[in-house]
Symmetry: C2
Subunit: 336 residues, 2 copies
């Protein structure tokens, strides 16, 4: 982080026509982004949501409220612009890039980036979700997608995901990485009932038991009980942080991806901004592990990057405050 740009930003904010510190988290955000970008007059536009989609073999265990085919169906919906993330990102003036990193089916759609590593993961109850080399390849895809987006001009990357079954993988990952009990971190996903939640927790426990992922080795955790979109999103964080571009996290799944990146390269944590607090209980634990405080809590549990699109105008406002407000001197206003 560029501490000089941070200090310049802080001094500038204190000269603006408002009570000292009265813009709260907007001021902290502006300072953080100055530090990330090394620019005391930063800019986060154009902003891009990178939405990674893949399938999960564990869905055969009945862990989700929706059938596995919904992953593909929703990807079509993203491409035609009718999903929540499309509406919300249009409203927030962000573009959406959809990446097939492991959908279980052949998809050729205009605008869909095909970086498929494999046709979904294996059922992690019966062995590793994927090979270690596949997890590494998925991370590399994420790094490359981030680099390419930034080269095309993106100044902020927001994380989005689609993958029926991915709260199951994410819960397994955070239980291992955070050394937490499965029952603490498992939730209702897209809308299972209490009995199904018990089953989901048992599936996760068996997956961890059979695979014995090593908490100290984030790639081992990714490969054994993770997912391809989670690995790809971890790569986005690594690629963005290396280029000093801020990353906006969505809900539980993208937060687990960010945690995975931070476990690989701890300095990444400074480049992360948490957008919203999801309904999934595991999300609170991940935010605690990351030391992040989400900007909004609207009881969202739709994923796709929806929370980032909601939070983006707040991040943009923080920047605009710094760039556009008058100082006490300019406006002739008496200080306290």
């Amino acid at each position: 982080l560029n501490t000089k740009a941070q200090e310049q930003m802080e001094q500038h904010l204190n000269s603006l026509t408002k009570p000292f510190g009265s813009l709260g988290l907007l001021e902290s955000l502006a300072i953080k982004i100055a530090g990330i970008t090394g620019n005391a007059q930063p800019n986060i536009d154009p902003a891009m949501v990178v939405l990674m989609a893949s399938d999960h073999g564990v869905t055969v265990e009945g862990v989700s409220a929706y059938p596995s085919e919904v992953t593909q169906q929703m990807v079509r919906n993203f491409i035609t612009g009718g999903a929540a993330i499309n509406v919300l990102s249009r409203a927030s003036n962000a573009s959406v890039q959809v990446v097939d990193i492991g959908i279980n089916g052949e998809l050729q759609l205009p605008g869909l980036i095909n970086r498929k590593i494999r046709f979904g993961t294996n059922n992690m109850v019966q062995g590793p979700a994927m090979e270690r080399t596949e997890a590494v390849s998925a991370i590399e895809v994420g790094i490359e997608v981030a680099q390419s987006a930034i080269q095309k001009g993106a100044r902020l990357l927001a994380l989005g995901e689609m993958g029926i079954g991915n709260t199951t993988a994410s819960s397994a990952m955070v239980a291992v990485l955070g050394q937490l009990s499965v029952d603490q971190v498992v939730g209702f996903g897209t809308g299972i009932n209490t009995d199904e939640k018990v089953k989901k927790a048992n599936v996760i426990k068996r997956s961890i038991e059979i695979n014995q992922p090593n908490p100290a080795d984030p790639i081992d955790v990714l490969a054994k009980v993770g997912g391809l979109e989670i690995a790809g999103l971890a790569g986005i964080v690594l690629g963005a942080a290396a280029a000093r571009v801020p990353v906006l996290i969505d809900g539980f799944i993208t937060a687990v991806a960010a945690l995975t990146a931070v476990r690989m390269t701890p300095a990444c944590v400074h480049y992360l901004i948490a957008s919203h607090q999801s309904v999934e209980p595991g999300h609170i634990f991940v935010n605690k592990l990351l030391g992040l405080q989400p900007l909004v809590n609207l009881n969202l549990r739709v994923g796709e990057g929806s929370g980032t699109a909601i939070a983006l105008p707040i991040v943009r406002s923080a920047i605009k405050i710094a760039n556009e407000m008058s100082t006490f001197e300019q406006a002739g206003v008496s200080g306290s």
Copy 2:
């Protein structure tokens, strides 16, 4: 409220390509606005921030971190576009209308609406802040300003305020209206210290003691320990609710104004949307009395309507979700 439009909205939201209820508060907001406007495809644009400014005689007691002249200086700043509310409302595509309802000085500025009732209030420690007839006139100004804004096309009104000393008046009002202890509701305002806060609480206690405002008579409370901008903003709520236009509340002061309107006409409460949770402790009590849950908590304490401008894109997103998302049927996505 139009319950038919609410039901239509709820049914429509349940047909959209997302897990049932997964857009949380965005869905509740869309249903609420359908009920307010009587339209299952509502629109809240153009949105306007009505910022009422006035002075408070009680400032001579040293209750604020800033001198009383800052009210006028900031009004000039609003008109030239350099204040926080200007930057934030430009970012959120809302207009700002500034009303002088009781500034202690002659101001002739382009775009400033002059509806001055008197040159600031009296010092409420020594007697009523204003006459009852003046409080009524200020409420009437608010109703008229709301009617005029709506006639010019505004579909959502957001409340903003400026008035050095107005957290003192608001704290007094909520202590009386909510029958709460002054120490519970008094806060640091724009940035006084702990000793000054004790002094502020004593000033409020003496004001209540000498004036004996009647908790069952909101106009009596307004006149004795309130303020002209608070009365005007209560009028905005009354005028907007009568025209079935949603009202976005900012922080503590505007929430007290909304509570005053609700005590006059209880049905007004259905037309209110709380934007942000302010740092002022009294705000929590007012929200509890109103039964409202703010959309964001960013530790703001700048006033001016700043929280409404931050929350406006969220409200707009809720509407856009309803108006623009695909249904399961349209997108060919399997249900749960």
